[in-house]
Amino acid sequence: MNRRTALSLMSFIAALMARDYVLAQTAGQPAGASGTGRGYPSFNPDVSAIVDMFYHQSDSKEGIGHVTGEMAGFGHAHGHGGEGHHHHGPDKGFNLRHLEVQLSAAVDPYFKGSAIVAVAEEGAEMETAEIETTGLPWGLKLRGGKFYSDFGYINAQHAHQWDFADQPLIYKLCLGEHGLNEKGLQLSWLAPTPFYLLAGVEVFQGENENLFAYHGEEPLPTHDGPRAGVGWLKIGPNLSGRHALQFGVFAATGKHQEEHDGDGDGAADHWLDGDSTFWGGDAVYKYDAPRAHGQGDFIAQAEYFSREKDLRLVAHDLAPQFVGNSRVDRQDGYYAQAVYGFLPRWRAGVRWEQVGLTNESELPNGTTKTFGSSRRASAMLDFSPSEFSRIRLQVSQGSYETAEGREDVAEVYVQWMISLGAHGAHKF
C-alpha cells in the first residue's frame, strides 16, 4: 500500500471516530467510559493472572512431544531437520504451562488495549499485545498488534479456556503450540443481517514456524512482510430458548520457507520457498441449561483443517539436479468434542481426533509419498470449585503414524488451574 493510500485510509478512520465523538457529545454524555463496567472510579487496567499447572504421564518412552514431533507427513516441529530430541511437548511429571498475566483497559473513548504476558521458567514472552477500536460505525472493528487469529473456534481461545488439557492434534501439528498468533491487523464486520454474521480479514507478518516460516537468508529469497493473510466468516442462526449455534469457514494463504538437513550432519543442505494455504470450517453448539453451577449445560464443537504447502526447491547441496522442482505437501485433520455438566460444578467430556486422512508429499524428485493417518480418543472429567478454579483429570489413547513406524501412546493429565484478579468474561 503506498503512502497516499495509507494516509487517506487513516484520515477516513479518524473521520469515522470523530463522527461518533461528535454525536455522543451532542447527547450530553461522554463518548464512552471505561469498558470494565465497574461503578467505582478507577483508571487502572484490569489485571488478572492465570496459573495453569498439570501433571502428565504417558507410556511413550521418549514422551508424547517426541511422537507428535515425528509424525509422518507433518514433518518435524521446526522447519529444521535433524533436531532429534528438541521437542515441544509436556514433560513427564509436573508442568507449569506458564503464568499468564493479562492486562486490559479502555484507553480512551476510541480504543481499548490488552496484553497477555506469558511468564515461563525460561523468561517472559509477549503472547499478545493489541489495540482495538471501540467506536467505529457500521459494525466495524479494527484490531492491531500481536494477537491470535480469529479463524476457527479454538485458535483464539487461551489454554486455560480449553475443555481439554491439550490442544487438538491437527492444530498442534500444523500451527504449533501457540496456534496462529502473529503481528498484524484485523478488520472485522458485524453484518446488519437478521442473523449473526461476522466477517473478518487479517493481514499478518507471517512468522509461524510451521506454516508461514520466514528465513530470508541465502540461498532463500527475501520477501517483505506482511506475508500472510487470513479470511473467515462466522454465522450464528437465531435459535430460540437455550440453544446457541455458530458455524465458521476460513481460509488463509502466505509465504513459507523451509530449510532442511537431509544428511543429518547438523547443517542445512536444502532450501524450499513457496506458499502455504489452509482452509477449513468449525461448528459449535451450546445448550445453556437453567440450573445452577453449569448443571445440564452441554457444548459440542468440531473443526476441520486442511493445509497445503506448495514449495519450490531453491537450492540443494546434495542433489542439485532437482533445483527448480516443486514439492507439495497436503495434510488435513479434524477433531470433535462434547462436554456435559452432569452435576453442579462437574463436567465430563469426550474428544475424537484424526489427522492425516489426506497425507501426501509430492517430492521434487518426481515421486509422491503417502502416509497413514493417526487418531486419538480422549476423555476428561473436571470439577470447578468456583468460576475461578478448576481441577481436571484427562486420559487419552492415540495411535500415531510416525517417521519411525506406528506408535500407540496412552496419556494421562491431572490439571489444576486458577484465575486471580479481574478476569474478563469469555466470548461465545
Partner: protein, 337 residues
C-alpha cells in the same frame, strides 16, 4: 490515487451525517424484571427484549450470538449492575459494536444507580469469601420500592433519548408506580393516606403498627398486609438473594444454605443451619426454582419448616407474568398454608 478523493468525500459526509430516528425504540435489558418495568414505561413506543429468561441464575449465562444481535440493534441497554452480569455482559456489548450502548453512553442504563443498595461490604473483601459483590447485593429488584425507582429511572432515560415523548414516558411510569403502590398497601389505604407517607413508614419501621391500627386495618391491603404475619420472623434462604424483600417487609434472614455465596451447601454447614433454624423457629426455607431442593428438604425434615420454591424473576414461574404479578406470586407463596 483515485480512491483518495472518494475517501475524503465520504469522511466529510460521515462527520455531518446523523442517525435516522427509529420509529420504535429498541430496548434490550439483561433481566426480565427490567424488561417488564421498561415495557410498562415505554408501552407501544418501544420493543423490549430481555437477554435472561427469568428461569436461570442471572450470574452465569453463555453470551450467545443472538444476544449480540439484539444488542447490535438496541437503542437502550438496561442492566442490573453491581457486577451481577459481569460474567457475560462485556462480550455482548463488545461484540455488538453498538457505540450507543457502551458503558457510560446515554444508551446504557445501569439501574443500580437509582436503587437503594444493601450489603455493601464495609471491610476489605477477597474471593475467599465466595462470590461477594464488591458494590453491594445486586438482587435489589425484589424490594418494591426499588421497582418504583427503576420505573422512574427508565422514564428519565427514555425522556433523554426521545425528548418529544418525554411526557408520555413519565406518565406511564407514574401510572406504574401508582399501580405498584396500590398493590403494596391496598388501593383504599394508598389513596387515603398517600403512598409517599406509607413508603416512608416502611423505611422508619412504623408501618407494622400503622397497618395494625384499628383506624387503618380495614383499608390496608396488598403485599404489606399479606406479609404482616411474617414480620419479625426468621427464614432461611438458599442464596443471599432475598435480603431486599426481607428488608422491606421486616422479615429476618437467619441463614443461607450456601456456606458462602456461590458455594453449594455442605453437610457441615447444613448441620449449623439446622440448629440455627430450630433455635430461631424458622418456618420457611425460601429458594429459586433453578437450585436443587435437596438441602432445603434436609433442613425441612429436621425442623418442620416448609420449603417455598418461588421465582425471583419475572418469567421464572408461569404466574410471574410481569413485575407486579411476580410480587403477588412471592407474597402468595410465602403466606399459603
Amino acid at each position: 490515487m483515485k480512491i483518495t478523493p472518494v475517501l475524503l468525500a465520504v469522511s466529510v459526509a460521515l462527520c455531518f451525517g446523523g442517525e435516522a430516528a427509529a420509529d420504535r425504540l429498541k430496548i434490550v435489558t439483561t433481566t426480565t424484571d427490567l424488561a417488564a418495568i421498561a415495557s410498562a414505561v415505554a408501552q407501544d413506543r418501544a420493543e423490549v427484549r430481555s437477554i435472561c429468561t427469568g428461569k436461570e441464575d442471572p450470574h452465569m449465562l453463555t453470551a450467545k450470538p443472538s444476544a449480540i444481535l439484539q444488542a447490535r440493534d438496541a437503542d437502550l441497554w438496561i442492566r442490573i449492575g453491581l457486577e451481577l452480569e459481569v460474567g457475560w455482559e462485556p462480550p455482548i456489548l463488545d461484540g455488538s459494536r453498538n457505540t450507543r450502548i457502551r458503558v457510560g453512553a446515554p444508551g446504557h442504563l445501569d439501574a443500580s444507580e437509582c436503587a437503594l443498595v444493601l450489603d455493601v461490604p464495609q471491610t476489605a473483601i477477597s474471593r475467599a469469601m465466595g462470590d461477594v459483590h464488591p458494590m453491594g447485593n445486586p438482587h435489589y429488584w425484589l424490594d418494591p420500592l426499588n421497582g418504583r425507582r427503576i420505573a422512574g429511572a427508565i422514564a428519565d432515560r427514555l425522556a433523554l433519548l426521545d425528548p418529544p415523548n418525554a411526557a408520555f414516558y413519565r406518565e406511564n411510569a407514574a401510572a406504574f408506580q401508582k399501580a405498584l403502590d396500590e398493590r403494596m398497601f391496598g388501593a383504599e389505604l394508598a389513596r387515603s393516606v398517600g403512598a409517599d407517607a406509607l413508603w416512608a413508614k416502611t423505611q422508619d419501621g412504623s408501618i407494622a403498627d400503622f397497618l395494625r391500627d384499628p383506624a387503618h386495618k380495614d383499608k390496608a391491603g396488598g403485599w404489606a398486609k399479606a406479609l404482616l404475619p411474617l414480620r419479625g420472623k426468621k427464614i432461611v434462604t438458599y442464596h443471599r438473594s432475598w435480603v431486599y424483600l426481607a428488608h422491606r417487609f421486616g422479615i429476618e434472614v437467619a441463614a443461607e444454605l450456601e456456606p458462602k455465596p456461590g458455594v453449594p451447601p455442605t453437610a457441615a454447614h447444613l448441620a449449623n443451619v439446622a440448629e440455627t433454624a430450630w433455635a430461631g423457629g424458622v418456618k420457611i426455607i425460601l429458594q429459586e426454582p433453578f437450585y436443587s431442593t435437596k438441602a432445603a428438604n434436609q433442613i425441612a425434615a429436621k425442623t418442620g419448616a416448609r420449603v417455598v420454591v418461588v421465582a425471583n424473576s419475572v418469567g421464572g414461574q408461569p404466574e410471574a407474568t410481569d413485575y407486579l404479578a411476580l410480587m403477588d406470586l412471592i407474597a402468595a407463596k410465602l403466606t399459603e398454608n
